[in-house]
């Protein structure tokens, strides 16, 4: 059971970090196409950080045989993996503050997910690793909180375009 605990935990960790990274990359591309450069750059930075974490997790995972879980077989607390920015939370005129706020929520969700593993796992290695990951996520969250504090408040929720939407086809 202990072995299974660790393998399952690592499989979830790899998926969590790689999904977070993929989603940030996708959102960064989309934001760049819509000229929201500030947010695009921020999402790129988040993708990079998730990438670093992914490498760390993957190195540990490489020493273990992980279960072959299909994308819908992971056991997440919500609908998607916790660090992944939800599609419907996004708007192309998203402000940097809103983007950071969103990322902060993602980091906190990831922290909570790892923390719950740390508390509930009977396997010492798993609990130790989970606690370590939770700590790392809380550090990220703290950095984002600092960034938020330094930002001036937004003047409007979703700013409107001056032109109507396009008619591409």
């Amino acid at each position: 059971m202990t072995q299974t605990d660790l393998a399952a935990f690592l499989a979830h960790s790899v998926e969590l970090e790689s999904e977070a990274r993929e989603r940030y990359l996708e959102l960064a591309d989309a934001m760049r196409a819509h000229h929201n450069t500030e947010v695009a750059d921020f999402f790129m930075r988040m993708a990079h950080e998730s990438g670093l974490h992914l490498e760390e997790v993957a190195q540990i995972a490489a020493e273990n045989a992980l279960p072959d879980l299909k994308p819908w077989e992971f056991d997440w607390p919500g609908e998607e993996s916790p660090e992944t920015a939800s599609y419907e939370a996004i708007h192309y005129r998203l402000s940097l503050r809103q983007a950071i706020q969103l990322a902060l929520e993602n980091e906190l969700a990831a922290q909570a997910f790892y923390a719950s593993f740390a508390q509930s796992s009977a396997d010492a290695t798993t609990a130790e690793l989970a606690a370590q990951f939770a700590h790392e996520e809380s550090q990220h969250a703290a950095q984002l909180s600092v960034m938020l504090k330094e930002l001036p408040p937004d003047d409007a929720h979703h700013r409107e375009d001056d032109d109507d939407p396009h008619m591409p086809e």
Binding site: M31, A62, Y92
Partner: protein
Amino acid sequence: MNDVITFKAKDYKSGVKPIWCPGCGHFSVFNAVTKAMAGLGMNKDDTVLVSGIGCSSRLPAYVDSYGFHGVHGRGLAIAQGLKVARPELTVIAMGGDGDGFSIGGNHFMHACRRNVDITYVVMDNEVYGMTKGQASPTTPMDWDHSKLTPHGPGVRPFKPAALALAAGAPWIARAYSGNPNQMAHLLAQAIEFPGFSFLHVLSQCITFCPQQTDWKAIVNERQDAALEDEDEAARLFLHEDGFQTGLLYQRQRPTWPPEAAPPNDPDLTGGFRL
């Protein structure tokens, strides 16, 4: 690192950048398509995504498989022709509510009836996005945000699942863009189902229908097993609010075309010779 993250959804992305607005539900469908392909370990070379015209119909170009981006409303016809001609391929047709239920409505009915072994994903955001937000067959009758119908379309939206059932679709499911993992699972089942599988996706349009972000609070996942009885399914599809997700109806029946007898006579000219 590579060893543990092979067959990932991202490997099924072509690298072409989507044109969709950030916040568009179609990103989620794209995510689910690649996850379903990864989950099933699908061979990219043997998979074809076929679409019509519209925001959602841009999806095939974003997936690293074969694809066909056709004309408005005809994706299902292209997909069926392809599958009949090349039965060994996995064919997934897709498009929007305008494409599938309005201009392509006839093909939708007949695809349900014909039961060729393909999957059809309709990304329903209740609006024509590519032409600047006009009402579609699924738009609420009082939706007055389009200059084309400033007082709302004034026409009752139709119920895609009920129509599919009446036309004979043997597999009907609904997904929501807010839950790509559930959608990926449904899509995987749709692909594996032998016959015409119809996946109706509630896919929000952030630009023209921002109120659809409210869907998150309304959608509810079906807990019971899929219905097998047509009468029960008819009652469900006619009276539900349309926000129940999951596999709703499944009743397998023979696919078309049936197994053909082997060619029996290479001589075509015998009937003409005197």
